[in-house]
């Protein structure tokens, strides 16, 4: 069975280490890569009527920007290294959505970078890595 590694990316620079690690593993184990970026969004938020009316348009803009600035450059970088990589962009709760996409694509492992936020901040808001470890059905590798 071929391996599929899912890499969660936040922004181009801050995900460099996770991506490098994933690329190395994919190279040595002949695994495929899925680069996933999640745009933080909740279906239960409170909006103004104006925001709702423009939501569809804004969503397109958000997806477009995420493709151009985050996912597409990373995917083409991986492809240049001779790896098989695809990009996926979704809206949702970051950890839960990463886990859901991993299940959807049949990934064997999830790889994400540590954001390195302060202890207080993590205490207050939690971190994507922590939550992901809790919700994921798969092994999660957190790259420091």
């Amino acid at each position: 069975m071929s391996k599929l590694l899912l890499v969660g990316v936040d922004c181009s620079e801050c995900s460099e280490r996770a991506l490098k690690y994933a690329a190395n593993r994919a190279g040595s184990s002949k695994a495929q890569l899925v680069v996933v970026h999640v745009i933080d969004w909740s279906p239960f938020s409170f909006n103004t009527p104006q925001e709702n009316a423009e939501r569809h348009k804004r969503r397109e803009t958000e997806l477009d920007r995420a493709h151009k600035e985050i996912v597409d450059p990373l995917v083409s970088e991986l492809r240049e290294q001779g790896l098989f990589a695809r990009g996926v962009i979704r809206h949702g709760h970051p950890a839960e959505t990463l886990s859901a996409v991993a299940d959807e694509f049949g990934a064997t492992n999830i790889i994400i970078g540590k954001t390195g936020s302060s202890r207080i901040k993590t205490q207050l808001f939690g971190s994507v890595a922590n939550t992901l470890v809790q919700v994921s059905n798969l092994p999660v590798t957190v790259v420091p």
């Binding site: 009527p49 397109e60 979704r90």
Partner: protein, 516 residues
């Protein structure tokens, strides 16, 4: 498609109205604004509330119009208000939301936005007025009107989504203007003209309603509450309604003209919190006085059918309840269809199910809590001045929680603010339907809107309430008349969807699919 904007001449009328106002630069500004607008407000409300006698009581035709429609819709759609209640909840919870459509407007968001436009002063001030004038029994009819109103909302919001406009730039806009004109045109050529006329009438009243109940009433009542907590008559603020108006107008202006969506966004997050605080406080007072609840319920039920000492007897009580319920949840008025139509779905009827929750939360839950607090704390008193509105509710809460009027003041001001933001949007949509979308029409409307905030803060309650009631209720005439022609359309949508739902043809997603 060539758009026709039939209302340009109306702009002239509004300008004339404004120039008839006296200069703002002298003492007694409040009085002068009040006097300039009072004759206009009075004549508008006497037309809308033209009534006929039933059993010796003057019954406003518009209320019969609303109730008749709500009852008819309830039967025509075979008690959809109860039948689809559970499914509506599943939709709000997101059981049927495709994860691939994440990031679009969800059912929950559309409902929450519509609710923040309706939950507000109607639930606080309106209920106090109903209980004052109609006695505890008015609560019974208010709840009944809320339950029936759910069917009206169902129809409106289904149509709102079905006939909305989706523009090439990805924005959407919907509401009665669109379903009246597009929907009736679809039925037959003969109805096309009628649809156009109804749509224009609706848009005119909607603009008026956005200045009245969606604006002046809000500004007025929140100012009254602010005066009352800061010392009533002797308050420094007592004769400074215009100043309060200018401040609120400046804040609203920052949002709607300055595009400072941040303020609106912050408000839209705080308002649900305030609603929770209000409901919690109300429930706390009810629980603390749990021994009096049976008596209160008895007063509500017995008062509903035997109204001694209430003007108009049982019919009078009934109409107080129905009137305030309609004013609070706006079912049949058409306004909420504008907010609901932004949802992303390919089955319009789903938003209809979700919209059932609007009158339910607004009237059956929140208004009932207010009414119970007023009745239990004994703050209700037939001899109280009915124009006290929010002050009466404030006194009811104060008798149980002494510092609550301050919290209530914050809640009232925030509710008023968010209702104004919502209505400025509804009004603007109606306005641009009439006058076309351009920077100038846009700014003219918004400036008028801000101006009416100042007027509303300055006027006395009586004429403000009459005018705002009149304009909002007037929207129900073209809206419901048009809906009658569109009922088969909704029936078809409903039957097709309901068959799919019953046969398990609808796809559940995510956790819900695992659960079930």
């Amino acid at each position: 498609m060539q758009k026709i904007y039939p209302g340009r001449k109306l702009a002239l009328g509004f300008v004339l109205l404004l120039t008839s106002l006296p200069s703002l630069a002298s003492d007694g500004i409040d009085d002068r604004i009040n006097q300039a607008l009072k004759p206009f407000a009075d004549s508008v409300s006497s037309v809308v509330f033209s009534s006929f006698p039933v059993a010796g009581v003057q019954v406003p035709f518009v209320l019969v119009w609303l109730i008749f429609a709500a009852i008819l819709f309830t039967f025509y759609f075979r008690f959809i208000n109860f039948r689809a209640f559970r499914h509506g909840f599943e939709l709000v919870r997101g059981d049927y939301s495709d994860p691939l459509a994440a990031g679009e407007v969800t059912h929950f968001q559309a409902l929450a936005t519509a609710l923040s436009g309706t939950v507000g002063l109607g639930n606080i001030a309106g209920v106090a007025v109903a209980v004052s004038l109609g006695g505890p029994g008015a609560t019974f009819w208010m709840i009944l009107a809320g339950l029936l109103g759910m069917s009206s909302k169902f129809v409106e919001c289904t149509l709102g989504v079905k006939y909305r406009n989706e523009y090439t730039d990805g924005t959407v806009s919907g509401g009665p203007m669109y379903y009246l004109s597009k929907g009736l045109a679809e039925r037959s050529d003969r109805l096309k003209m009628l649809g156009k006329v109804l749509a224009v009438l609706f848009a005119i009243f909607c603009v008026g309603g956005s200045f009245g109940g969606g604006n002046m009433f809000q500004a007025n009542q929140s100012f009254m509450q602010l005066v009352s907590v800061t010392g009533g008559e002797s308050s420094w603020l007592a004769d400074k309604g215009w100043l309060f108006g200018i401040i609120v107008a400046a804040l609203v202006g920052l949002v709607v003209i300055g595009g400072i969506q941040g303020i609106a966004r912050v408000t839209s997050k705080i308002v649900p919190l305030m609603a929770v605080v209000y409901v919690t406080a109300g429930l706390a007072i009810i629980l603390l006085n749990i021994s009096q609840v049976p008596a209160a319920i008895e007063a509500i039920i017995s008062g509903a059918f035997s109204a001694e000492g209430i003007s108009g007897g049982v019919v009078g009580v009934l109409f107080q309840g129905f009137k305030r319920a309609a004013f609070s949840n706006e079912a049949g008025i058409g306004s909420a269809a504008i907010a609901h139509s932004a949802v992303r779905t390919n089955r319009p009827v789903t938003e209809g199910f979700v919209a059932l929750y609007e009158p339910f939360v607004d009237t059956v839950v929140v208004c009932t809590i207010t009414a119970l607090v007023i009745i239990i704390t004994g703050s209700w008193n037939p001899s109280v001045d009915p124009s006290q509105g929010v002050a009466l509710t404030s006194a009811a809460f104060e008798s149980a929680i002494s510092w609550f009027p301050w919290v209530l003041t914050v809640a009232v001001v925030l509710f008023a603010f968010s209702t104004m933001i919502s209505w400025s949007y509804y009004g603007l949509k109606a306005w641009t339907y009439l006058f076309g979308e351009s920077l100038i029409t846009d700014v003219v409307y918004k400036l008028l809107f801000l101006f009416f905030i100042i007027v509303g803060s300055s006027m006395q309650l009586g004429s403000v309430i009459d005018f705002s009631d009149a304009m909002i209720f007037a929207m129900a005439f073209p809206n419901i008349l048009g809906i009658y022609f569109l009922l088969p359309v909704v029936r078809k949508e409903l039957d097709e969807y309901w068959a799919d739902y019953k046969n398990g043809k609808l796809r559940k997603f995510g956790k819900a699919a695992n659960r079930g």
